[in-house]
């Protein structure tokens, strides 16, 4: 409760609305998506007090979560990967002239999904944090190990591609000065590389520039449906929505679960859609413009996006690329996410959580009132938007380290992002490895020091042993699943 008083200053409230507004724009424009938008705006917040800064950034995050739905419904272009499932029923609804209904449903569902997740975080986070106080270096490394193994084991891309992408992230993280020994690593005599690669630059390049290049290649032109959104339509839709409470609850559970594990909002939205389709009475009509088909993925992706913040705050492990960027931001401000954050920086943490409730509400209000404006943005022809986005990305890249070289790296990452997306190499593990690389490595080294080089330290007690085993299980899951399937086929 104290957190609300921290947040409710006029300055913070203004920042909140500005943040949400920027976030929605960012979510609506291609190439500027959630992670990228937060990355670009992060350095701007350095001059603000940390609490205000994180309030604004988390509101940008919200705005982006909501914004992706606008383009999905009106233009059949998912603004975010997790908005793809929303297009399945959202766009047909727009085509039938029911865009206002679809938008209202999606925003309200998003609000609901996020709200449940925030409530969950409020109650569970401190418990997880105090549990995590018992963690030592081996336990932390085991958790990192689990995160990365689940990416490889549960990802939909070929495992070796995930491995390569992830390891490239680690390699990039290692460039520069080694913290422990002070030696230069992987710099090859280039003083430019002393800085190492900042994850923000990578994110802006991979997700931002890469997206622009991709859109450019496909020659996208935006011609969307118009939407009439007024109070009458909003109220009518709100009357229809409570019918879907079952779907909403199911989707929220899926979202919260997948958000915490490094699965993320995208698989959550698809899974929720699929399950809703199978369990709903109108399942057969999904895909033709069923309201429920919009509710399910939107509840799920917002729950997931929000609950991705839980492991980030309590353990220091981000559940999604955007959470990874927020994590990076916290580190830059000298706030170490993890169990100690709850103990030492209570004001900050509860302020953040309070801002999540308010940010969620602010987003809903803003989004319901401003849809035509946001839709209009997309009608700006690509030849104007593209260079403007590139300029914004370049400025964002520069403000991270005040280094011109970073802008070139951004372009290079852009090309990498473009190629990787086309070749099915996942970007999320790369970014996560880049953000967590140094920490994971130092946790590993400290563990090794404690055990004098014995790898068995990772099985030395019940807690770390079970986490490590879980990690190995996740890693080899696809192999195990195949073997089990073959055994069953043999027996049957």
């Amino acid at each position: 409760m104290h957190g609300f008083s921290v947040v409710l200053t006029p300055y913070n409230l203004v920042l909140m609305f500005v943040g949400v507004f920027l976030g929605i724009i960012v979510g609506v424009l291609p190439g500027l998506g959630g992670a990228n938008g937060v990355a670009i705006l992060l350095p701007l917040t350095f001059s603000m007090p940390p609490t205000s800064a994180i309030v604004m950034l988390s509101c940008i995050y919200w705005g982006a979560l909501f914004g992706g739905a606008i383009t999905s419904i009106l233009f059949n272009i998912p603004g975010e990967p997790w908005s793809v499932a929303t297009t399945f029923d959202g766009y047909p609804m727009a085509q039938q002239g029911r865009a206002g209904e679809a938008l209202t449903a999606s925003f309200t569902s998003s609000f609901f999904g996020a709200l449940v997740a925030i409530i969950m975080i409020t109650f569970i986070a401190p418990a997880v944090a105090s549990f995590a106080l018992e963690f030592g270096p081996p336990e932390f490394f085991a958790v990192y190990f689990l995160t990365f193994c689940s990416f490889i084991g549960m990802g939909k891309e070929p495992p070796f591609k995930i491995l390569v992408a992830m390891m490239l992230g680690f390699a990039l993280a290692a460039v520069g000065i080694d913290i422990v020994t002070g030696q230069l690593r992987l710099t090859f005599g280039f003083t430019e590389l002393l800085r190492g690669f900042n994850f923000l630059i990578a994110v802006i390049g991979l997700f931002g520039i890469g997206e622009i290049l991709l859109s450019m290649e496909e020659g996208l032109s935006f011609s969307g449906k118009t939407a009439k959104l007024n109070m009458k339509i909003v109220l009518q839709t709100w009357k229809k929505l409570p019918r879907f409470w079952g779907t909403a609850i199911r989707s929220t559970i899926i979202g919260c679960w997948l958000g915490i594990t490094p699965g993320g909002a995208t698989p959550a939205s698809f899974m929720a859609y699929g399950i809703a389709k199978r369990t709903s009475r109108n399942g057969a009509k999904f895909g033709t413009g069923e309201l429920e088909g919009v509710v399910a993925p939107e509840v799920a992706n917002n729950s997931a996006g929000t609950s991705a913040l839980l492991p980030m705050l309590a353990l220091g492990i981000p559940g999604s690329p955007t959470a990874a960027v927020l994590l990076g931001g916290l580190l830059i401000w000298g706030l170490q996410p993890g169990p100690l954050l709850f103990v030492e920086q209570k004001d900050f943490v509860w302020g953040l959580i309070a801002s999540m409730y308010l940010g969620n509400l602010a987003s809903l209000i803003l989004v319901l009132t401003c849809v035509p404006f946001f839709a209009a943005i997309l009608r700006i022809p690509f030849s104007i938007i593209a260079p403007v986005i590139v300029v914004i990305c370049a400025v964002g890249a520069f403000t991270v380290n005040n280094a011109m070289g970073d802008i070139w790296y951004m372009l290079a990452f852009g090309v990498i992002g473009y190629a990787f997306k086309k070749l099915d190499y996942p970007l999320a593990p790369l970014v996560l490895a880049l953000v967590l690389g140094d920490q994971a490595e130092s946790a590993f080294r400290q563990s090794m020091l404690i055990s004098q080089g014995d790898v068995r330290v990772f099985f030395s007690n019940g807690l770390v042993g079970s986490i490590t085993s879980l990690a190995l299980l996740a890693l080899f899951w696809p192999l195990l699943a195949k073997m089990v399937a073959r055994l069953r086929k043999g027996a049957g």
Partner: protein, 165 residues
């Protein structure tokens, strides 16, 4: 479906590239010292294994590529020449823009970049391109120099010095 670079060649090229990167990391780490010193792992220990995993993964990807002669799930083409031309149309001007920042600073460079993009690729009239370019540049100026107090590069030839910044 036009002609272009095949998905398969692109995959193989990237796999080879990551293999080269992996080998570079491995060699550099080895030279740095990737063994166990008496006070713990040397600086190159962790990156060595990271590089090794990159190499293993790259080889696996390359082999998978050779095996999937005609994969059904992947598109046949990585990109058509037409599409790549469009990508270059964004990338090359972007590079010129970044080079321009060194010379004339970010505000002027972005103004020219946006204007040129609109006129040459979007086929807009010159005055419209310049207007939008100037407008965006001006808004950026207000936002960064004045409001956020964040100084952006002004280039080697600081043409904006007459404005006092």
């Amino acid at each position: 479906m036009g002609s272009g670079i095949s998905q398969r060649s692109a995959e193989m090229a990237v796999a080879l590239l990551t293999l080269v990167i992996g080998l570079t990391v491995v060699i550099a780490s080895y030279q740095l010292g990737s063994k166990w010193a008496n006070d713990g792992p040397q600086a190159g220990y962790f990156p060595f294994y990271v590089g090794l995993l990159i190499c293993i993964g790259s080889v696996a990807n390359f082999v998978a590529c050779l095996r999937n002669g005609a994969a059904t799930t992947q598109p046949k083409l990585f990109a058509e020449w037409e599409g790549l031309r469009r990508v270059a149309a964004v990338l090359v001007p972007a590079m010129v823009f970044v080079a321009g920042v060194y010379l004339i600073g970010i505000y002027l460079s972005s103004m020219f970049y946006i204007a040129a993009f609109m006129v040459l690729l979007g086929k807009y009239r010159i005055w419209k391109g310049v207007a939008v370019g100037f407008g965006v540049s001006f808004v950026l100026f207000l936002m960064f120099e004045i409001w956020f107090q964040v100084l952006l590069p002004k280039g080697a030839y600081n043409i904006l010095s007459f404005v006092g910044h």
